[in-house]
Amino acid sequence: MTATAPPLLELDALRKEFGGRPGSVAVDDVSLTVHEGETLALVGESGCGKTTLTRLLLRLLEPTSGTVRFDGTDLFALDAAALRGVRREMQVVLQDPYSSMNPRLRIVDIVAEPLVTHDPRARGRRGRAWTRQRVGELLEAVGLDGTILDRYPHEFSGGQRQRISIARAIGLEPRLVVLDEPTSALDVSVQARVLDLLAELQQRLGLTYVFVSHNLAVVRQVADRVAVMRRGALVEVGTAHQVFTAPAHPYTRQLLDAVPIPDPVKARRTRRAALAGDEETAQAGDGKTGDGKPGDGGTAPRPAHDGAR
């Protein structure tokens, strides 16, 4: 993470419009760098373009303009063969552990998918035995029993499934893992354990994380740096410490204020202060909703694609 090392991931003026109309900008000229070994958290409310941005940097969508460089190579200039090489280096864990696995495949085949796709050792006559052994190791690495190979996804809980997803993502020892709201579908206690696992794997394997979340409490726990997104554009990028202690942009401050405070007396005082002092906030229509999440009132019109996560 020294200033001299070239960034692992570099987004330059990345832009994505859906349907060709100027009103449907999902990602608006985003420039961002992610350095090897760090965790960059991408935060913002629902529909702000976080998911679209991850789809772009995984090259699952083509941008309207701008570039994504991974380890110096432009992703969108690659041909199919070169792209396969890069895909090996970046993996993804998605939000919903119930739809991220093919219900008809056994755990071994789910976790082995990246191996079978990219590793010649997983093919051929001996490949099956090698794959089973490797998948067993991976499952143990994420804290699961290595003997569950022949079971089906529906036999597992949300937290266990998310561990299986993580096992799949680390199988090729990638450099970058995109975590798209990896814990938001889980119970709080399970969340904490999955976050611990992610931190441990990052240390052990030297992973770089792009961690997408709308949950600032989680972000505070995991992030080295934080990028705040609003209506498709970045409003603030900084170290986690900076962003949480001295937010530079008013929108970041709003997000921080919207985090529920687990102390009712303090929470009441904060709310009263917000009502009295911050009238611009109320007028901008970006006020908080009762459950402490940022409201949808000020969100730009969402392109239909973005909603279909």
């Binding site: 699952l60 895909r87 739809s99 990246p114 699961l144």
Partner: protein, 304 residues
């Protein structure tokens, strides 16, 4: 601490024997008495088709004009020599009904398989790629649907000549649309699921995604349409044969027997009724099996 303990004991608790999909599916099927009866009947039909020469009491094409239009054995004037009676040329009806299973089964399964392969390929491509392939394939499907299948079958058979394989070809080619439509809509809903996104992010190729991730998840509706199509093709073959455009005269088919029998319906009902009943029961059994398959194949049914 308890919710995601590293060993999978909690998971084992709600799925005790960890039964595979297949055994669970089989158990559901066995509980359905009607489906069992239908399956038993179909097994009987298959046995008749395979071993027709051993089972049939007589040569289905052997004419005996002295014994023409004899009633079934239990009616006045019937004899034990011809259990279901004889037709207008004195041929043994029981033997003809038994031999008729061959054409019906061959045409039914052949047409359903052919249509299934074409329709599934078209539906997968259409749903997965979208865009131009989708538009082209779906317009072809519309045109196909707008054109009456039986009319097309008549035209092709009239043009190419009659024959068992032409009948299968025609019924197969005209039947693909329903498969394609269903597969396409299933694929459209699957395509946005996370596991497809993950597979694409991993770098799995399009054909592998279709084979590994899409095809197994559309097999259930496919099997249902397939069985329904078998029944429809059996009836369609009978219609073509009834019109004299199906298979050649010397091949015994239920449709041709119906056509023969209708002339004598007033005096000798049995000539038309027995092949008709065989046709009806077979297509009914196939349909019931198809319905049972659909119930069994619903992936949510395994969970409990």
């Amino acid at each position: 601490m308890t919710t995601i303990s590293p060993n999978p004991a909690p998971a084992a608790a709600h799925a005790p024997a960890a039964p595979s999909h297949r055994t669970a599916a089989l158990r559901t099927l066995l509980r359905n008495r009607l489906a069992l009866a239908a399956l038993a009947f179909l097994a009987l039909v298959v046995i008749c088709a395979l071993f027709a020469p051993l089972i049939a009491p007589a040569d289905p094409n052997a004419q005996n004009l002295l014994e023409r239009l004899q009633p079934p054995a239990w009616q006045h004037g019937g004899s034990g020599a011809h259990l279901l009676g004889t037709d207008q040329l004195g041929r043994d009806l029981l033997s003809r009904v038994i031999y008729g299973t061959r054409v019906s089964l061959l045409v039914g399964t052949g047409a359903a398989l052919l249509a299934g392969v074409i329709g599934t390929a078209a539906g997968l491509a259409s749903g997965y790629f979208g865009g131009l392939p989708d538009r082209v394939l779906m317009r072809i499907a519309d045109v196909q649907l707008a054109f009456p299948a039986i009319l097309l079958a008549l035209a092709v058979v009239g043009f190419l000549g009659s024959g068992l394989w032409y009948v299968i070809l025609v019924l197969g080619v005209t039947g693909w649309v329903s498969y394609a439509r269903v597969v396409r809509s299933e694929v459209l809903s699957l395509r946005s699921r996370d596991f497809i996104t993950e597979a694409r992010a991993i770098g799995v190729g399009d054909t592998t995604i279709m084979r590994r991730h899409l095809l197994p998840n559309v097999m259930a509706p496919l099997a249902t349409i397939g069985t329904l199509h078998v029944a429809a093709a059996i009836v369609a073959e009978a219609s073509l044969s009834y019109l004299g455009l199906g298979v050649p005269k010397e091949t015994v088919t239920w449709g041709a027997m119906l056509a023969d029998g209708q002339l004598y319906l007033g005096t000798s009902w049995w000539v038309a009724v027995f092949p008709g009943v065989a046709l009806m029961l077979t297509s009914l059994a196939v349909n019931i099996t198809g319905d049972a398959l659909r119930d069994v194949a619903d992936p949510k049914a395994y969970r409990r």
